[in-house]
Symmetry: C2
Subunit: 426 residues, 2 copies
């Protein structure tokens, strides 16, 4: 629009020169000032931020990365700026995928690959991200428009296609393997695939692609009644793949398409979808930037605010051939993995606690949750003001009944356990 207004001004200038009548000239002058005003308004509306070469931790209002780089000073993340090296593919730019894309964009992710074939409709307005004026645009185009305005530093690749078609799948696979963004990267061209689709068929396609490419991915979903959802981490060969443990509706042999009827639509809420997107991207950040615990499976029941977790090992009878291949590789690599883990443990001596700041004017100290598990232990009591005790158990105590020691060790040691059991029985 800016260019068009400039052309108009040039035309008026030409016209003015060839005019002799003073009243006509006055009219042209008025029109010139009108257009100048329009140009000014247009510039104000396009007050976009310029690209930023290096992420800075400087605390000034104009730095969009200050609150993210602060994660380093707070001791949460070792090297936040590494986020610029990562590529994340998001399949499905709907109620969950679009919000996940916006969160990663605002976090300054290096590159986003977006896949969807659908168009924005007013019926999508009960979820975050898309705006009514984008109705009619493809979801990928609308997403690129919004995301590039929010953060021009992110490299956006948009694929308007259906991954469940033959041609769509081919483009999907070749886009995932393209390494032009970081030619030195091992494995695939992306660091993580996020599945944010709304049907079983598309999930099975993502599963197939990731099993073939040995690519770690995360799956997400929201129930048709809008009040529950889940996220799940899938590492080919190491965890269950999507075909190892199909959902109940599939295991019971009902064709998903017969469940959908004309004129009936699923319910959805911006809350549930926003929460699931948040949990998904939080797990993504923990996975990429190596902090906290990456959760293998997290459910969300909105009616009761209940958040179940679990772990799923691969199914040795999985129907997916690529999954069986990855399982074999994972088992074969076990001795090397164990040796590497031992070497790492031996190389890292027990570290003395280090002080990050020499001066500590306010006597601020970070207390590990583990240290205050027992409210009667002297160290714990010392950190609480007089008269206050911990009402709830710490996160560690709470998690115990869920993931028992036996489940955590699991498959790898099963043979060993069986041997011990047989020795006891004999």
């Amino acid at each position: 629009m800016e260019a068009e207004l400039k052309d108009l001004l040039n035309d008026l200038h030409t016209l003015k020169i060839s005019l002799l009548d003073p009243s006509c000239q006055a009219l042209v002058n008025k029109m010139q000032s009108r257009i100048e005003h329009l140009s000014k308004m247009e510039k104000l509306g396009n007050n976009q931020r310029s690209k930023i070469k290096d992420m800075s931790a400087e605390v000034v209002d104009s730095n969009p990365y200050s609150r993210l780089m602060a994660l380093q000073r707070m001791g949460i993340v070792d090297n936040y700026e590494r986020i610029r090296e990562f590529s994340v593919a998001i399949v499905g730019i709907g109620g969950v995928g679009s919000v996940a894309a916006e969160m990663l964009t605002r976090c300054g992710i290096g590159r986003l690959l977006l896949y969807d074939y659908d168009k924005v409709e007013l019926a999508n307005m009960n979820r975050l991200f898309f705006r009514p004026e984008q109705a009619g645009m493809t979801k990928t185009d609308a997403a690129v428009q919004t995301l590039s305005d929010i953060n021009p530093d992110v490299v956006l690749e948009s694929y308007t296609l259906n991954i469940t078609t033959v041609q769509g799948f081919e483009t999907f696979m070749s886009s995932l393997t393209n390494k032009s963004f970081r030619p030195d990267k091992e494995g695939c061209g992306v660091d993580l695939v996020l599945s944010c689709v709304d049907n079983y068929e598309a999930r099975m396609v993502v599963n197939q692609a990731c099993n073939e490419l040995n690519q770690t991915w995360m799956e997400s979903g929201v129930s048709e009644n809008a009040v529950s959802g889940h996220i799940q981490l899938l590492v080919p060969g190491e965890t269950a793949c999507f075909a190892c443990a199909p959902p109940l509706v599939v295991a019971s042999g009902v064709d998903e398409r017969t469940l959908k009827r004309e004129g009936v639509c699923a319910a959805s809420l911006p809350t549930t979808m926003g929460i699931v997107a948040g949990l998904l991207v939080q797990n993504t950040l923990k996975y990429l930037l190596k902090f906290g615990t990456v959760t293998p499976y997290l459910g969300y029941n909105a009616l009761k605010d209940f958040f179940p977790t679990m772990e799923m090992k691969p199914n040795p009878q999985c129907s997916n051939a690529a999954c069986l291949e990855r399982q074999k590789e994972y088992t074969l690599a076990k001795p090397a993995r164990d040796a590497a883990a031992r070497a790492k443990m031996e190389a890292e001596p027990l570290l003395e606690p280090e002080f990050l700041h020499e001066d500590n004017e306010w006597n601020i100290s970070v207390v590990d949750d583990d240290e205050v598990q027992d409210p009667n232990a002297s160290s714990g009591v010392a950190d609480l003001p007089e008269g206050l005790v911990h009402e709830l158990p710490s996160a560690d105590e709470f998690q115990k009944p869920f993931i028992s020691e036996e489940t955590s060790n699991s498959v790898d040691d099963l043979d060993e356990l069986r041997r011990q059991l047989e020795a006891l029985n004999s």
Copy 2:
């Protein structure tokens, strides 16, 4: 801008009539078509949706409420359209408050009251909602701009003020008591106050206002290291108020302001803030539309995906005089409350299960979680495909260790319990 372009076209028309030179006329024709093109583009950019009088459940792409009204057909909400009667006040339009406002706007809430005194900065761009081109605008103005585009049906009231000042507090109080939106409403002019502020002082002000007005509110917060947060329901007289149980940092007597140092800023993440906003608005919807369980307190630890819950009863030695008043009223109203509860129970006979749909072509049935608690019970097994069992306990079993029967009954029966104990001891 549309009006300005129309004026330009009129000017050109006048000019053309007074011109005789054909080359000048050709130039004017060219300019006319340029401006017509600009008008067309402008209209496309302003493709805003019009207001909608009644919420419809019709499943068409152009209906922004179809997926929300579907909550009724799914049996989650009795009457979704009631949401249009409710007013919600949001104090603090930052990383949590702005997302909460957007979620409620997309849900079609009746009226939103927004309070903030701050301006949008590029440093806020690592959280959802605000766009870089809004930098420099007040948060309230920018929010009204975005929200009214998203859903013109919502009545937006914006208050650019600091509620911790004397004048700000007065305006805050009078805005909460204003009943012009729904003159028949009992109590205050709003149905819920959401506190989304980032400091203790502002929380205490919201607490004071809500205790004085006997107004239910919800509090939210995110930690300075960005990886934990919480939401809390506060019902004056019935639950702990914010002064009943102050946070540790305050209980230990440290002045909050001394903790903040020049050039040091808190970390923040769009994930954590989006999740806390989602949990807050989900609890708001459950409270207003009466479905599921409204959670009294829900914590979120992002590093471990741990979600603690608890309940807090009011402190009879609370330092807040208005809180003590509300506690007294609540205790005095106990007999009436008990009688009402008894009457309600007697009036509602045990209902026979009703069938919503006469025809059930696909044999779809809703299974209550409670019915499949025991995987060995015949009813539970019958609902699962052969060979599958439930891996995890149901939500009910899980919740038991958290909120024990004794805690749930609590204060009201404390005297009774003490009497029983004394009788046993004597």
